[in-house]
C-alpha cells in the first residue's frame, strides 16, 4: 500500500516537472517577485518621510496580502488544472488502464496522486510565499507577525482546493473539473468579501453569506487566516477596526482551532467521496 502510494506520488511530481508545469510556475513566480520587489522599493523610496510608521505598516500589510492572493490564485489555478489531466485525463486516454490492472488498490492510487499534488502545490506556495516575505523584508523592512503559520495556511488552502479538484475530476471531464474548481474558489472568495461588507454594515443576512460559504468550501476561511498572520496587528486599528472587514485584503480575526479542524474534516470527507467515486468507476 505505502509502496504504491509513494510510487504514484513520485510519478505525479515527475509529471509536473516533466510537463514543464514546474518551469511555468517558477517563471511566473519570478516575474511576480520581481514586479512586487520593484513596487515595494518604489513605495519605500517615494513615501519616505510622508507616512507615519503605522501607515507604512498598514500599506505594507495590504500590499503583502494582495501579492499573496496572487500566489494563492496561481497555486489554485495550477493545481486545479493539474488535477484534472492527471486523474480524469489518464482514465480518459487509457493510461490508467495498464496501471490499474496492476495489483494495486484504486484508493492507494488516488491517495498517491493526491499526495503528489498536495506536495507540489504546498511546496510551491510555501517557497514562493517565503521568497515574497523576504523581498518585502528587504525592500520595506516589514516582517509579518506569523509567517510560518501564514504559509502553512496558504498550503492548507491549496490542499483544500486540490482535494475538491480531485473529487471533481473523478466525476466529470478533466477540463470541466478545472473550470468548476477554480470557479468555486473565486465564488467563495467573493462570497467572503460580500459577507465582510455585510458584517461592516451590520447586516446579518448578508454577513451570513460569507460564513456559510466559508463552511461549505474552506478555502476563503483559510485564506483569511493566512492574511491575518501576514498583516501587522496594528494595521486593522489604523484601518478603522471592524469596518476593516469590508476590505478584502485585511482580516479581522485569527483562525479558530475549530475552523482548522473543520477544514481537516472537510478534506477527509471530500477525499473519501472522491475515493468512493473512483473505486466504483468503470474504466
Amino acid at each position: 500500500m505505502t509502496r504504491v502510494v509513494l510510487t504514484v506520488a513520485g510519478l505525479t511530481l515527475r509529471e509536473a516537472s516533466r510537463r514543464r508545469v514546474l518551469l511555468a510556475l517558477g517563471l511566473l513566480t519570478l516575474v511576480l517577485l520581481a514586479l512586487s520587489g520593484w513596487g515595494f522599493s518604489r513605495f519605500a523610496a517615494e513615501s519616505g518621510g510622508t507616512l507615519t510608521s503605522g501607515e507604512a505598516r498598514l500599506t505594507a500589510s495590504i500590499l503583502l496580502n494582495l501579492v499573496m492572493f496572487g500566489y494563492s490564485l496561481i497555486a489554485a489555478l495550477g493545481t486545479a488544472f493539474l488535477a484534472g489531466p492527471t486523474l480524469a485525463g489518464e482514465t480518459e486516454s487509457g493510461i490508467a488502464l495498464a496501471v490499474l490492472a496492476r495489483p494495486i488498490r484504486r484508493s492507494a492510487f488516488l491517495l498517491g496522486k493526491w499526495l503528489g499534488l498536495v506536495t507540489f502545490g504546498g511546496v510551491f506556495v510555501v517557497l514562493a510565499g517565503l521568497a515574497q516575505v523576504l523581498v518585502v523584508g528587504v525592500t520595506v523592512d516589514y516582517w509579518p507577525p506569523g509567517p510560518a503559520a501564514a504559509l502553512a495556511l496558504l498550503a492548507a488552502q491549496t490542499t483544500v482546493l486540490l482535494t475538491l479538484a480531485v473529487l471533481l475530476s473523478s466525476v466529470i471531464s478533466p477540463m470541466a473539473s478545472g473550470v468548476v474548481a477554480v470557479g468555486l474558489f473565486c465564488t467563495t472568495w467573493v462570497a467572503g468579501v460580500v459577507g465582510g461588507i455585510g458584517a461592516a454594515v451590520d447586516n446579518d443576512a448578508v454577513a451570513r453569506v460569507g460564513s456559510v460559504s466559508r463552511v461549505l468550501l474552506p478555502t476563503d476561511g483559510l485564506w483569511r487566516g493566512a492574511m491575518h498572520a501576514f498583516q501587522d496587528p496594528s494595521a486593522l486599528l489604523q484601518f478603522g477596526g471592524v469596518d476593516g472587514e469590508a476590505f478584502p485584503f485585511l482580516s479581522v480575526a485569527p483562525l479558530s482551532w475549530a475552523y482548522l479542524v473543520w477544514a481537516a474534516v472537510w478534506v477527509a470527507m471530500v477525499w473519501g467521496l472522491a475515493a468512493v467515486s473512483f473505486v466504483r468507476k468503470d474504466l
Binding site: R3, V4, T7, L11, R14, E15, R18, R19, S93, G94, I95, L97, A98, V99, L100, A101, R102, P103, I104, R105, R280, D282, L283
Partner: protein, 298 residues
Amino acid sequence: MWCTGLRKRYGRRTAVDGVSLEVGRGEVVGLLGPNGAGKTTVIKMLLGLVRPDAGEVLLLGQPAAEPAARARVGYLPELFRYQPWLTAAEVLALHVRLSGAAVGVQEQRDCLALVGLADRAGDRVGGFSKGMQQRLGLAVALVARPEFVVLDEPTSALDPLGRADVRDIVLSLKARGIAVLLNSHLIGEVERVCDRVVVLDRGRVAASGSLVELLGQHEVRLHLTGMPPAAESRLAGAGRVEREGDWFTVAFPADDEATVPDLVRDLVALGVRVHAVEPGRISLEERLLGILRDGAGS
C-alpha cells in the same frame, strides 16, 4: 483464469450477458466476435477494471476482486497509451514497481529487446509511433513475469512483421506454460496460435471449443446436374448449402462418417448426375461468419 456468469449492463443496454470461460496454464484462448460483442468488457471485468453486475472471476486461484490476484497478470489494453513524459525504460520500471515483482534492470532491458525497442529504451514515449507504443504495451504486459497474459487486439497498430513477432511471442509464452487470452479481429492470427476459441456475439458466448471441435465439421463440394426439386430439398436437409452454377458446397452440422456416402446414394437414387465430390475444410473465418449469421437469423 476462470469466470462464470459474467453480466454487465450499461444503462438499458446489456453489454455482457452470462459469459463463462476459462484459460488453463499453457493454454492460448482466442476471443472472437464482431464489434460491440462485449469482448473488451469481458476482459476488463476479468482484470477488475469494470465491475460486473453479476458473476465470479478467479485469477490464478484467487478472487479477482482482490488486487493481489493480479500480481502475476500482464495486460495489453486495446486502448494502449503510456505516460508520454516517461521514457520506455521508465514505463517498464514503473510497472515492475507497481507489480511488486523483483525484476532486475537487465531483465527489463531484455523485455524491451524482445519487442524490438532495445535501442529506444531512453526515448520519451510521447515521441513513439502507434506501433511502437503497442510494442511497448506488449513489453509492459510481459515484464513482471506474468503467469496469465491478456492481449486485447495486440496487433491493431502493427505492420506484418510486428504481427509475426507477436505470434512468436505468444507461442513462446505458451511453451513456457503461461496462460494467454487473446482478443483479436485477425482470425488468421487466432487460428495460428490459439488452442481454443470462444466466440462472443451480442454479449453471449455463441460458440466455444478447441479449433478441432469448431472446424472439424465436414464441408463437401459437389458438382451436380439434373437436379429435381426433391434432390434440392435433400441437399438442404443435409446442411447449409451454397450454390455456384452446378457446384454445391454443403456444410454439415455434425461430423459423421456416413453422412457423405448416404447423401451421394440418395442423390443418385433421385436421378441426379454426380460429377464430382470434393472434401473441403472450413476456415475459422467461414465458421465464425456461419455462427454469427445463425445467431442473427435466430
